[in-house]
């Protein structure tokens, strides 16, 4: 098992540890420290995928985040993940990678027919062609195109991994550990600042790992190691590799994606797979470096064509040759370093330099080593389908728009360099308006928008000396402002090669009658001709050109294509690049997993679960729970094989005939105290509150300022200046905020305090004709007669030795009480009630029976108080005082609230007395009327009336009060049901309310 393209000793990989993996089913091996890409290249494999639109063969182009082509479906540690960047993913034992976007295989892909039909697939082809007939789009065209395009396949398995979120604060966040980042972090750390240094790659050092430089007589790599180990030893510094800061949000909030354990073979079950960091930094150093951009030429997407810096990285970091007969195609000096590296490894490169013959330190060195350099030359077109075999190269004339000489040379790889583009995404996300720097033909950050400071190559400084100086100065100055300490640091001596000027050349011309595809954007198959078409068709704004051609979209965000695209537009439009502008940079910089975004908030941890103190009893007694906000409430208690319908009917019937108990702990409870409490309640509620005596409860109705009912509930006067308010379960939090708003902002002169006591009290309702008998057994020493404890009465008494509150209030419409004890005593209370209740036929009842009881009584709840009803709509105008002012009163005078035919609550029964009416049904006059059939109202709540043994519903109906006795249809398209109904009073049972007072 030899690796034909692996060098003998170069590289930072661990040659002592072999790692086996498969690619498209083939067994291969690499070494610890390899990426999938470096291991495949070492094995001589370059064809890894097919392009998005034309299904052209594609290989690797970069060595990191810039990679546009090599996206694989990767299976490892029990995951299957699509669109994994082969140049970033580290090799782990047993990993299995497969090519995407090809069928039946990457070697023989049927979709490649598109490539031969490419004249039929220009930009906007799909928009133009599949317009007609319109109905074909969803059913035929779109699914077909989707299948033909598409990238990888998302897994449908449940993700068993653990993902975490972390919140962190620091003085200085440094994003990138190249020379400027290391210098910044070091200077700030020496000033005592709390520093986080984040590096996207597994290895720290950035370009120091690959550039032939020395700092204080150490190699770049050794200097980086020295600084990192010193930083790691400092308590005020956090150093993180495999961690990418991918988003810069408001108020200096940055988000970092840490790949914690994907590279590990074994890990503990508590080790997360990935971690999302929310970092609030006082200052941010953006040392994100730069990315090499290509020069555009014919068939420049053929496998075997690399960015020149990537080729160098494969040699220096992974000990891998991208080819053994390289052509180096460049417009600047940096590619000469790649050529020299090839030469060092006994490979003879040919350099094609678009510049005219001249001299510089690097050119002279290459010449002295005997490297074949051809000035004013460039690659016109690459030959070879699945791998570069040769290249047609040309000598450019003085204007560089035609050729003096054309020839073909053999090669097995082409390393291209079109100069460097600063990575300005984070600065741009922070709101920084970028500026165009003529000197480097690229955008760099302009004036600071938040606290972002770009240094080094990310700021357009391409020399080591400048980057280090930049880093030390900014790191020191920014941190000194925070820590008030300034430690002097000597700027190290640097030895680096001087680069000559680059050539502002980015696209090779074509000889007459030749028309190969020249790609600008590999990932989206956008070629020069596509952009030309977009402009010919009238697209001008760069944002529109982007959307029409898809230039710079998708997972690589145009890292290697944006600037060349802009150059092209600016050439055709005869504008300078800064006038063309640039498209928006958006987070995340590279794709991150959904699992990381979600973190631990999945399943049971999606949101907190609130349980009442009696929850365990409910569980033990076969309660089926329902979610009420975050609360779990028993919906019904299942006996044997009972259905929901049977159980709720049994429970409700038992309340009407005997007695039942219900856990009402979830009701919102608010403690109100202060000398102005009565006045406050009088303003908050629509009814009068000034004369409520101590020891009495009152039902109250609350409006919003627009006159719509907000909430209802009872409030009890516990003592002179102390009230106990209850709210509905759903509105508890809103009502508290509402009360606080009025007390803090509108009427601060009122001396009142409010606090939520929902969780301090456990509550149980005892309802039914036998509830008083049961109560007297629960409180043997207390007079619970109708005279001593009348309807809306209140008493405090000991419940088998624990303090309790007794409210005589009723939601079910029966004679009923509510007992509150401290939460800790909730279970004790409930079990005592079950024990004592045996003699009275007591049964627990859930929310379904509770609803049945209140619906047939005509008591309104959430479905009626739905944010659209005023008091008279729900027949509660009796509670609206005419004598005093209250929140929302002025709105009740509005014209629309007072029209004769205003909506009102009514009752509905089916004519056949059998068919239940679906909630949400619309009420119409004529079921066969032409659509849109005028809607007269809607069904808000439905139940099976246990009292009358037939279905009954509440509805809000237009002109409801004049509809009693009339017949309509309740239509539910959702349930596909139409039921003939008769309108009756909403008070179906005990309309005079005798029972609650009995």
């Amino acid at each position: 098992m030899s690796q034909p393209f692996r060098l003998n000793k170069e590289g930072l990989i661990n040659r002592n540890k072999k790692i086996s993996f498969t690619f498209n089913g083939k067994k291969l091996f690499g070494y610890e420290g390899d990426t999938i890409a470096s291991a495949l290249i070492a094995n001589g494999i370059h064809l890894v995928g097919r392009s998005f639109k034309y299904h052209r063969p594609r290989g690797f182009f970069g060595a990191g985040v810039e990679e546009p082509n090599a996206k694989l479906q990767v299976e490892f540690n029990g995951h299957s993940e699509p669109n994994v960047n082969a140049t970033e993913m580290e090799l782990v034992e047993g990993l299995s990678a497969t090519s995407q976007n090809c069928w039946p295989s990457v070697n023989f892909d049927i979709g490649a027919i598109n490539n031969f039909l490419k004249m039929f697939f220009p930009a906007g082809f799909y928009y133009k062609t599949f317009m007609w007939p319109k109905s074909f789009w969803y059913k035929i065209y779109e699914p077909f195109i989707r299948k033909a395009a598409g990238l990888g396949v998302a897994s449908i398995e449940k993700d068993k991994e653990r993902y975490e979120h972390k919140f962190e604060y620091c003085d200085l966040l440094v994003t990138g550990s190249g020379p400027s980042g290391l210098a910044s972090a070091y200077a700030a750390a020496k000033n005592g600042a709390k520093v986080i240094l984040a590096e996207d790659k597994p290895r720290f050092g950035g370009t120091l790992l690959t550039d032939d430089v020395s700092i204080d007589n150490l190699s770049g790599k050794d200097w980086a190691e020295k600084i990192i180990s010193e930083l790691k030893s400092m308590p005020n510094v956090t150093v993180k590799n495999r961690s990418q800061v991918f988003g810069y949000y408001d108020h200096n909030m940055l988000v970092m994606f840490e790949r914690v354990s994907d590279h590990l073979e074994k890990k503990s079950k508590f080790t997360p797979r990935q971690r999302l960091w929310y970092i609030r930094a006082k200052e941010t150093i953006l040392s994100t470096g730069s990315i090499e951009r290509p020069i555009v030429f014919g068939n420049n997407d053929t496998p075997g064509i690399f960015l020149s810096a990537a080729a160098k990285e494969y040699m220096k970091v992974y000990g891998v040759l991208v080819g053994k007969k390289p052509l180096i195609f460049t417009n600047n000096d940096s590619a000469y370093e790649t050529a020299l590296e090839f030469k060092k490894n006994n490979v003879e490169p040919i350099i094609l330099d678009t510049r005219e013959e001249h001299s510089s330190e690097l050119i002279d060195e290459a010449k002295s080593k005997g490297i074949d350099i051809r000035f004013s030359h460039g690659v016109i077109v690459a030959n070879g389908y699945k791998k570069v075999k040769s290249a047609k190269i040309g000598k450019l004339n003085k204007d560089k728009n035609s050729f003096e000489k054309i020839e073909t040379v053999d090669c097995d790889c082409i390393c291209v360099s079109g100069f460097w583009t600063p990575s300005v995404h984070l600065a741009s996300q922070s709101g920084n308006k970028l500026k165009y720097e003529e000197k480097i033909d690229a955008f760099i950050p302009d004036k600071k928008k938040q606290h972002e400071t770009s240094v080094g190559a990310a700021n357009g400084s391409f020399t080591l000396e400048e980057s280090l100086k930049n880093g030390f100065e900014n790191g020191s100055n920014l941190s000194a402002k925070i820590t008030d300490t300034k430690t002097e640091i000597a700027i190290p001596n640097v030895n680096e090669k001087k680069y000559g000027a680059h050539d502002k050349f980015w696209c090779m011309p074509l000889p007459k009658n030749e028309n190969p595809k020249r790609f600008v954007d590999f990932q989206n198959d956008v070629s020069v001709s596509d952009i030309e078409i977009a402009l010919r068709e009238g697209y001008r704004s760069i944002e529109h050109v982007k959307r029409y051609t898809t230039l710079g979209m998708a997972t690589d965000q145009g890292r290697t294509s944006n600037l060349n695209g802009l150059q092209l537009v600016s050439n055709i439009e005869n504008k300078i690049v800064p006038e063309v502008g640039h498209t928006t940079f958006r987070p995340p910089f590279t794709p991150i997993t959904i699992g990381t975004i979600v973190g631990r908030e999945v399943g049971m941890e999606y949101m907190p679960t609130r349980k009442t103190p009696m929850h365990e009893w409910h569980e033990k007694n076969n309660a089926v729970f329902v979610d009420a906000g975050a609360w779990k409430r028993p919906r019904y208690y299942k006996l044997g094989s009972e259905t929901l319908f049977e159980a709720s009917k049994r429970e409700a019937k038992n309340v009407r005939e005997n007695v039942g108990i219900c856990d009402v702990t979830t009701l919102g409870k608010i403690d109100i105290k202060g000398p102005d409490a009565a006045e406050f309640l009088n303003r908050v509620y629509t009814n009068a509150w000034m004369k409520l005596p101590v020891g009495k409860a009152r039902y109250g109705l609350m409006l919003r300022e627009d006159g719509i009912v907000m909430d209802d509930g009872t409030t009890t006067r516990i003592s002179e200046n102390h009230y106990h308010m209850t709210t509905t379960t759903a509105q508890a939090a809103n009502v508290l905020s509402h009360l606080e708003y009025y007390l803090q902002i509108v009427w601060p002169e009122l001396n009142v305090n409010v606090v939520s006591t929902t969780e301090q009290w456990a509550g149980a309702a005892i309802a039914g004709p036998k509830s008083r008998d049961m109560l007297s057994k629960l409180y043997p020493d207390l007079d619970v007669s109708n005279e001593a404890l009348p309807f809306m009465g209140y008493k405090e008494a000991e419940f088998f030795g624990v303090p309790s509150r007794i409210f005589r209030i009723s939601f079910s419409g029966e004679l009923a009480y509510e007992i509150n004890v401290k939460s800790d005593h909730g279970m004790f209370m409930w079990e005592k009630m079950m024990e004592v209740g045996k003699d009275f036929g007591n049964q627990p009842y859930g929310t379904e029976a509770l609803s049945t009881l209140r619906i047939e009584m005509g008591h309104v709840a959430g479905p009626e108080l739905d944010g659209r009803t005023i008091p008279s709509d729900v027949s509660l105008n009796g509670l609206v005082s005419k004598k005093k002012d209250f929140i929302g009163k002025n709105s009740l005078g509005r014209e629309a609230f007072n029209v004769e035919s205003r909506q009102k609550i009514v009752g509905l029964i089916p004519i056949d007395r059998k068919s239940s009416i679906p909630e949400g049904s619309h009420i119409v006059q004529d079921q066969n009327a032409k659509l849109p059939n005028p809607k007269l109202g809607h069904v808000s709540s439905s139940c099976w009336s246990v009292e009358n043994n037939n279905p009954f519903s509440l509805a809000i109906m237009k002109d409801g009060k004049n509809m009693i006795g009339k017949k309509f249809f309740a239509v539910s398209p959702l349930k596909n049901k139409t039921i003939e109904v008769e309108v009756i009073s909403s008070h179906y049972v005990d309309p005079e309310g005798k029972r609650v007072r009995s």
């Binding site: 909030m253 709101g431 905020s737 709105s891």
Partner: protein, 89 residues
């Protein structure tokens, strides 16, 4: 995510707060006759400015106090925060 300085608790993440609308709206006095136009303006009419806006936030997951925040609606820059009893100029 915004970073809001609660005048009672200090700098806290936006997660802890809930938004409460325009802070310059003044409710007509209770028990006073209000012309219906004034009332309608109070209930329904709100400006939607681009730029500086004085608004209410409640520190619901903290001290539960309502506070005033002067914020740029376009850039999210926060210029000043204050107790509701204090003025923002």
């Amino acid at each position: 995510m915004l970073y809001i300085k609660c005048p009672y608790c200090g700098l806290r993440a936006q997660k802890e707060f809930s938004y409460g609308g325009d802070a310059t709206v003044k409710r007509p006095n209770i028990n006073e006759e209000v012309p219906s136009e004034d009332w309608d303006n109070f209930v329904y009419m709100r400006k939607s400015p681009r730029g500086k806006h004085i608004e209410l936030w409640q520190h619901i997951a903290g001290c539960r106090q309502w506070i005033k925040v002067q914020r740029d609606t376009a850039t999210h820059e926060i210029f000043q925060t204050a107790k509701v009893t204090e003025e923002i100029r």
